[in-house]
């Protein structure tokens, strides 16, 4: 690495400040997104980074999905036309995270030999394949989009982990009598910095860990991998894999603004070794260097701090440019190959998903407002995880591959963990003012692509996600002759979708009696029925025996009322799968 003898370029300093500000903004917005009130009041702010993502815009355009919010991404498109990957160097929260980790862990690590010009072509191939998949109606580019990665990793994995640790520490401190810990905990909960709510329903010993997501460990592992692979190469992800970086590099290929190496170059190799994205390359038989405009992230380190002879200038001028500019993009044949791979994967994913959908034994329940049929949802969903993050009951989780690979990390309800909140996104002020027409599904409010439509309270509470059905082999009144009706109690609909009727059922206490006692009961009862007068002892004996039957309230689902919010399944007191579960019955409306 070059010695930093000279002061930094002013734009270098500015870049670091801007980077940290954007990372801070990203994190603050993500934390605020845990508050429904913030999301309801500032939906565009809550999804700012996703709304301004050009890859999302491009992918959605190719998938035939249009949402006006995404036009904000045009700002970044224009930026890319001028300064191709300045976004990566200045704004991208994932890029900044990488820089922070690099600074902390790998600052003095010599990675100058790990230059892999061919590897960086992979990102163009990935971009081509993902965009072709988008044309096939699969929004799977979200698996690789850096803003989606960041949103998923932080929102669904790291924030809940930090929250968990903070709560564990505060609870331990409180239990050891450390002053202020209890009030700090209460303050955190009241201000929704600590994620707690979903647990109160079944709060108590052994619970109370707060919010957690299925698959979160995968997001943590991938995020760590992206940060730590920098031990091999700085900004490994950005150089070699990032499809958004590839897109912006291509957009800006024509930009005159780029690092220009003048004829003063002494071919010392300092820029090639120092550049964090490997944007410099030998030309003219290793006599000179030139920059790759598609790779430069405008970090402004080279101009002052790498080049010992001031041969580099970032600008639009034409001071002794070296021609021809080296190419970084793979050849036409490789790109076509990547696109063809996408074109093969598309039908494979779709067929897989449709085959699974036919099976219908493992249905997925999408958030209210999710586009239907599910093919349309899969096209518009970018798997960013915002909806899961904002869900006030922790009910939405990233899917696995149960319903096909294409569905990986799309949101689906896990009713055993949480239910779709009846008053989601509504405040008391709204109720008092009778303003029930604003978006009342927070998942739809934060969805950047409209994969989940915004629904008013009145629409959301009529949106049929699924239909609850009793499992008569598990439900307590049906299967075991025990009282319950917890599901009916907590059905949130004003016209409850669960009702009950009293029936005569076998009495468990009678069933527990051994045969000789049962015989004795029958004998006494028969004599009494014949009009015989029983002795006082016999009467006492008969009265002490439990009757054969009892009346018991057994619950029923009223299918046309049920909207499949899953509250019943969530509160069912049976451990394991509930005695009432949301199923797919009647989710497809007959028209």
């Amino acid at each position: 690495m070059a010695k930093r003898s000279k002061p930094k370029h002013p734009l270098h300093v500015a870049r670091i400040v801007v980077q940290l500000l954007f990372l801070g903004l990203f994190l603050v917005l993500l934390v605020l997104t845990a508050r429904g009130t913030f999301v309801a009041a500032h939906p565009r702010l809550a999804r700012l980074f996703l709304d301004t993502d050009p890859l999302v815009l491009a992918g959605m355009a190719l998938a035939g999905v249009f949402t006006s919010g995404l036009l904000a991404a045009l700002v970044i498109v224009v930026l890319s036309l001028v300064a191709p990957r300045a976004y990566c160097g200045w704004i991208c929260p994932l890029g900044t995270s990488m820089d922070v980790v690099d600074r902390l862990l790998f600052r003095n690590r010599d990675r100058s030999k790990n230059i892999t010009p061919r590897l960086r072509q992979v990102k163009y191939g990935l971009l081509a394949a993902l965009l072709v998949l988008a044309i096939f109606g699969l929004g799977v580019f979200g698996w690789f989009d850096p803003v989606c990665i960041m949103t998923r990793s932080v929102g669904v994995a790291l924030y809940p982990m930090a929250d968990q640790s903070a709560k564990t520490a505060l609870v331990a401190a409180e239990e050891h009598g450390i002053g202020g810990a209890g009030s700090a905990y209460d303050w955190g909960v009241a201000n929704r910095l600590l994620l707690l709510e979903t647990d109160l329903k079944k709060g108590g010993p052994g619970r109370g860990f707060g919010v957690g997501y299925e698959w979160a460990w995968v997001f943590t592992a991938l995020f760590l991998a992206i940060l730590l692979v920098q031990a091999y190469q700085r900004r490994f992800w950005c150089r070699n894999l990032c499809p958004l970086g590839a897109l912006m590099g291509l957009l800006g290929s024509v930009s005159p603004l780029r690092p220009r190496v003048s004829a003063k170059c002494i071919s010392c190799d300092a820029c090639r070794k120092g550049c964090k994205t490997g944007a410099f390359q030998h030309v003219e038989h290793k006599k000179r260097f030139a920059s790759l405009v598609q790779e430069c992230v405008f970090c402004y380190a080279c101009e002052r701090n790498f080049c010992p002879v001031d041969a580099i200038h970032i600008g639009a001028g034409h001071a002794n440019p070296i021609r021809p500019q080296p190419h970084v993009c793979p050849g036409r044949r490789a790109l076509l190959g990547a696109a063809a791979t996408g074109a093969l994967l598309g039908p494979a994913f779709i067929l897989d998903q449709r085959t699974r959908a036919k099976e219908e034994t493992n249905p997925q329940f999408r958030p209210p407002g999710a586009l239907r049929p599910d093919d349309e949802f899969l096209a518009a969903c970018i798997r960013c995880g915002e909806c899961m993050k904002v869900c006030p009951t922790n009910a939405l989780h990233p899917s696995g591959v149960e319903n096909g690979l294409a569905g990986l990390w799309t949101p689906a309800f896990v009713y055993n963990i949480g239910n779709c909140d009846y008053y989601c996104g509504v405040t008391k002020a709204d109720v008092d003012a009778g303003q029930m027409d604003k978006p009342a599904n927070l998942c739809g409010t934060v969805c950047p692509t409209g994969a989940i439509a915004k629904l008013a309270h009145i629409e959301k509470t009529k949106w049929k996600i699924g239909t609850a059905a009793f499992d008569h082999s598990r439900c307590l009144p049906w299967a075991r002759g025990e009282e319950c009706l917890t599901c009916e109690e907590q059905c949130p609909l004003p016209e409850k979708a669960i009702s009950h009727q009293s029936q005569t059922v076998a009495n468990n206490e009678w069933l527990k009696m051994p045969q000789d006692k049962r015989n004795r009961f029958d004998e006494l009862a028969a004599r009494q029925a014949k009009g015989e007068t029983l002795s006082a002892d016999e009467q006492k004996e008969l009265a002490a025996m439990p009757p054969k039957t009892r009346t018991l309230a057994q619950p029923y689902v009223l299918r046309d009322r049920c909207i499949g919010c899953g509250t019943c399944e969530n509160v069912c007191p049976i451990d394991g799968p509930g005695g009432i579960r949301v199923e797919r019955l009647q989710t497809r409306e007959i028209k």
């Binding site: 929704r192 109160l200 009846y422 008053y423 609909l493």
Partner: protein, 326 residues
């Protein structure tokens, strides 16, 4: 010797210590079944007043009715008859549902505010208001209007925290079925416990009044209370005996309880009744002769948790033996 403390060495020691502390913490936690200690003092006249109720009805001001009912029961000194200066008071309203007060799913905020003020006027050091809600805690606290009203009246209003529920054994000879349950520490530790319920129907227990309202200090999976709910409620009331029980029947959810959600389910009753026994208050309140329950919804005799509670000697269920001071 100072150079012995290297960074690496320090980190290693600190890490080991942290792990040890963690492991020890893990071992010490999670013990179940400590015998329940409900610290709140009973009302000085609790035994003599088992069958006595204070009643105030009419008018449009629930706040006035609360004061009047407590004064009818306790005399002109009201809350001063049982609160000593410096007491920590817990007021446990029903905040269980995310519904606005007009739906009668939760206690009227004016009632809670008045109770809080009465406690503070009687010299209480602090008044804590909480309920383990059924819906989202913050939503229920907000929608019911109780959080705001109680804070303005001077109470501390916090959501229940899962770690503050402690598993306790309900070791009382009167308890028949409910052997142990996680209960909220702050509820057990208060000097004075005031139980404020709203009058509602209930799909499983027929009515939800003061006895049922105590479920709000329970943690755990309360759906499991629904198996033999009447006996479970009677058991809970055997060990948790509030200093004062107030039934807010300003509005009555006459049907479709306990969640409700429509004004059609609500009937105005403009009534506050209070007593030292939750059973007696409930026996009066569940009686269709006293409150506008939906025609034929229940009879007093059908509400088994009240009769079971009376049989255990917790109060009086026989309407003829209840003395109402109005």
């Amino acid at each position: 010797m100072s150079h012995d403390l290297t960074r690496r060495g320090f980190l290693r020691t600190a890490g080991a210590a942290a792990c040890a502390a963690w492991a020890l913490g893990g071992c010490s936690g999670g013990a179940t079944g400590e015998a329940l200690k409900f610290r709140a003092r009973p009302h000085p006249n609790a035994e003599a007043w088992k069958g006595r109720l204070g009643l105030a009805q009419g008018g449009d001001d629930p706040a006035r009715n609360v004061r009047a009912a407590v004064e009818k029961l306790c005399g002109p000194d009201g809350a001063k008859t049982f609160i000593k200066p410096g007491d920590i008071v817990v007021v446990k309203p029903n905040i269980g549902w995310a519904q606005v007060p007009e739906m009668a799913a939760t206690v009227d905020p004016a009632v809670i505010a008045t109770v809080v003020r009465m406690c503070l006027e009687a010299g209480a050091k602090a008044v804590k208001v909480f309920d383990n809600t059924i819906g989202s805690g913050s939503k229920c606290y907000e929608f019911s209007g109780i959080e705001k009203a109680a804070r303005e009246a001077g109470a501390t209003v916090e959501q229940c925290a899962p770690h503050r529920f402690k598993m306790v054994a309900l070791a009382d000879p009167l308890v028949k079925r409910l052997r142990e349950w996680p209960l909220y520490e702050e509820a057990l530790a208060a000097d004075i416990f005031i139980n404020v319920a709203v009058a509602k129907t209930h799909n499983a227990s027929l009515v939800s009044l003061c006895m049922k309202n105590l479920m709000g200090i329970q943690g755990g999976d309360r759906g499991k209370m629904h198996q033999e709910i009447h006996q479970n409620l009677a058991d809970l009331n055997c060990v948790i005996r509030p200093t004062l029980n107030i039934l807010d029947a300003t509005r009555v959810m006459a049907r479709e309880g306990p969640g409700g959600g429509r004004k059609e389910f609500v009937a105005p009753a403009r009534t506050i009744v209070c007593g030292t026994s939750a059973v007696t208050v409930d026996a009066w309140g569940a009686d269709p002769a006293h409150l506008p329950w939906m025609q034929g919804h229940h009879t007093l005799a059908e509400v088994k948790h009240i009769t079971l509670g009376a049989a255990a000697g917790l109060g009086v269920a026989d309407p003829a033996k209840i003395e109402v001071v109005a």
